[in-house]
Symmetry: C2
Subunit: 514 residues, 2 copies
């Protein structure tokens, strides 16, 4: 076996068997290794941001590392934005980057660049492989690094010659520590605060938003009357009937502060203390009132479900409580498509066990509340704020969960970043239904300009916000990339077309004009 | 004036008056400043790679810095690939990146990242502004840094609060040294080598490929019989009738070595010693035969035209020599579209004074020779190898030169990286005619796999190279983004449609199926 073969054998043996790839010349020995080896599935993405965003969606849903194969510094750079999002989502990702042959680096060939400097801001672990013999060990270390709780990004840079030269075959992955258990004294202290405190909030994030954590949180709420709230953009949030209703922290700091202001006692479980997305003059960075008491039950990297279960037990909470038991769907709306009617149509038609990737931004605000007692589903959001994650993330989620329907709310401005995702969805026949939330603008920027005090916008500012000159014909774009598409302008048409799209196999796009 | 206004006033006063922008919340004070200030033209691009590639094309053609406005680390990261290309092109570029307010950075808000680590690999100059008062001085320094010969990338990171707080108005730009003049002794030594040497090559790059340098090079060639050859991917190359025929160094190292092997004496003028694009086992990094003598007349940053003129004078070369005087066009071909017929059609129909952006990759090899006595034109290539530069670069070139037609050869695989460019071309009504060289694959990778010894490709390798499942309908994609488009499958149809497209105003796309 050569280095590349030993590397992929190590990955496949460790269960890392899907690779989101956009290789180039320096990755050819890895392409040959994939080609000749059973067990590794290569998924071609026509832009590296699709690779990294898909790896993130895959990791969130598969519960194992998302793997990418990228070309040198510039290819990797194209994937950085969604690695940024993945880092904030605490996803487990392994990036393989081919580099020039060791002996060719000093020639400073055109594609040479400082890959490590590019990789470090988005990677918890970066290593440059030095020889083919060390390559399987290096990738085993990368796998281990990516699995450090709750998930990390590991980037391995692999010179071309090290891929080609002989290596000793697969190696096993070093043990990774289990997430830290929270101490009994911490659990006791949290229980005390919840028993005594007046106005109490359990603020949830990360693994607290999976079924085990939520079920324990519901027991705690039933026992103490505390409110449940979660991060503004959870990486993965299990929702719907049978799981507790959790309020999502609003985006703008004024609204977030208002939502948090009633609470004198805040227990953080898997979330860090919430901060404003952006700093605005006269508003603070930290959103919990300074006069409130904050207590950290568990950090994002801890055993969060274990901590919440221990807390529920400590409180003597009932083992089974009735949680959000009744299916409640909004009525199908009619008329013009608005954020409300768009959200209501999707909530009303949500298939059982769906995955909802929500990058609807300003167009899907009401969806959370409207879908809180919809059929059980998984919601994915964008914890890092790098726009354009929606369609790649949905692509990876669909590959991780081929039996689950995926619905993507995709704001139009953001959609333009990674429209290449549609081609991969078509090629892989993925069960992804994309709803373009088409308001013909970067709407959020118009809101921000007004927040910044602009009374009216001049021609240049309008030019930097508006997307209607020319209007983007999403149906034409989507069909061109292989995904059937329709345009709708009323809530009735949206409902009819979404029903149809859900019933048909493979990817579909609906351009919903707001 | 606040910081942002002082910043843009400094730029406008220095003649930097076009801004390729994709702003977000942290850039809103800069958007307001652009909106309220006369003289700055903002061009919205719907992906940051379009901003940076356009800034590169603009800088190459305008002879002044290309300016970008980008959003935080992830927005900047999306532009890195084409900044890599711009760095290799030695283009003059200024990046303005908004960052969180200084007081908000420590909160580690979702979009916070290490922007400097991302910026350094592609920037000769990086600075993080610390106060509104220092902001106009910082941008003046950035302008100066970008103009250091022959051109550099300067990146200025600007906290949100520093944009908003008061500043003292515009400042003037520090003086930038002229390019170094080459010493008389160096010129004399080069003249000696050219007089005495047996087989002589003048290897040209950078500013040697503009009119002044080329005219001097032709005089030198006429006086000494030396051959003229240039870099494989020149940033900007003036060509066609009236300018000397210069052979372009081939891409693959075997062919490049064969082209260079006859020369015992190589004089480098504005080019570094050529190296292989990739390192292949058994082939060297450096392509000039080790037994040949290399002599550096001038480096890329020197006064290259001055050095070549001094050398021509030193050689006593005639002041005016007849150079490539007769227009010669290939006949219009017929039948299937091949790299030969595609190149011949464009060469035969090339309008006077066109700019030809060539990212045709494997599809346009014969174009150089077929167009060497075509009407005078400017050829732009991709010195850095980050694919997808073609359409953004053409976009910027068209904005720099509104009176010149721009023709883009665009390989299909590369085109997918930056197809958002078409929207900006439509919005700005740019005179860009894009020819998609549609071979339905990453053809170069198939070639590289065979070079790497693969006899046949398995399903996975085919999957990583082929773009025909599904086939991309470029006509549909282009129309969806606002650019009229047609598909052609014969050389006759290509000629007819290219003639029509050139005659019509505004952007046009032709999907040429190879």
């Amino acid at each position: 076996m050569n280095g590349a073969e030993s590397l992929f054998k190590t990955l496949v043996d460790a269960g890392v068997d899907v690779c989101f790839a956009n290789p180039g010349t320096t990755e050819m020995p890895m392409v040959r290794a994939i080609d000749e080896m059973p067990g590794m599935r290569a998924v071609l993405c026509l832009f590296e941001g699709v690779c990294t965003g898909a790896a993130d969606g895959y990791a969130r849903m598969a519960g194992k590392p998302g793997l990418t194969l990228l070309h040198l510094g510039p290819g990797f750079a194209n994937g950085i934005a969604y690695l940024h999002d993945a880092r904030r989502a605490r996803s487990s990702i392994i990036n393989l980057i081919g580099d020039h042959a060791t002996w060719h680096l000093s020639a400073d060939a055109p594609l040479t660049s400082d890959i490590e400097s590019l990789a470090r801001p988005v990677s918890a672990w970066v290593r440059k492989n030095r020889s083919s013999e060390e390559l399987p060990g290096d990738v085993a270390d990368a796998i281990a690094a990516s699995k450090v709780s709750p998930g990390q990004i590991a980037t391995l840079i692999i010179p071309h010659d090290c891929q080609m030269e002989p290596a000793g075959g697969a190696v096993s992955v070093p043990d990774v520590s289990d997430p830290s258990r929270v101490s009994a004294s911490t659990v006791k202290k949290a229980a005390e605060l919840l028993r005594q405190g007046e106005t109490k909030l359990l603020f949830l994030g990360g693994m607290a938003l999976r079924e085990r954590g939520l079920t324990a949180a519901a027991r705690i709420a039933a026992a103490t009357g505390c409110k449940l709230m979660c991060e503004t953009f959870p990486a993965r949030w299990e929702r719907g009937v049978g799981l507790p209703v959790v309020e999502r922290l609003p985006y703008f700091p004024e609204q977030a502060m208002a939502a948090l202001s009633p609470f004198k006692n805040v227990i953080l479980a898997g979330a860090t203390s919430p901060v404003a997305f952006f700093g605005y003059p006269g508003l603070p960075s930290y959103l919990i009132p300074p006069e409130s008491d904050q207590f950290i039950l568990c950090r994002p990297e801890d055993d969060i479900a274990g901590a919440l279960e221990a807390l529920a037990d400590e409180l003597g909470a009932a083992a089974a409580v009735e949680i959000n038991a009744t299916l409640q769907l909004p009525p199908l709306p009619s008329g013009r498509i608005t954020p409300e009617s768009l959200s209501a149509v999707v909530a009303a038609l949500l298939p059982e066990n769906a995955i909802v990737m929500n990058e609807g931004n300003t167009s899907t605000g009401p969806f959370d509340i409207l879908s809180q007692s919809a059929p059980r589903h998984t919601a994915l959001a964008q914890p890092g704020g790098a726009i354009g994650l929606g369609m790649p993330c949905a692509t990876g989620a669909a590959i991780a969960c081929p039996d689950r329907p995926v619905i993507t709310f995709q704001a139009d401005g953001s959609a333009m970043y990674t429209l290449q995702s549609l081609w991969t969805q078509a090629r892989e026949r993925l069960n992804v239904k994309t709803v373009i939330c088409n308001n013909g603008s970067y709407r959020i920027l118009g809101i921000e300009l007004m927040r910044a005090g602009a009374k009216e916008f001049g021609r240049q500012a309008q030019n930097l916000i508006g997307l209607r000159d020319p209007a983007i014909d999403w149906v034409s774009v989507s069909k061109g990339l292989g995904v059937p598409a329709v345009r709708v302008e009323t809530a009735e048409d949206l409902a009819r077309e979404l029903k149809r799209a859900i019933a048909e196999p493979g990817p579909q796009l609906i351009d919903a004009v707001l």
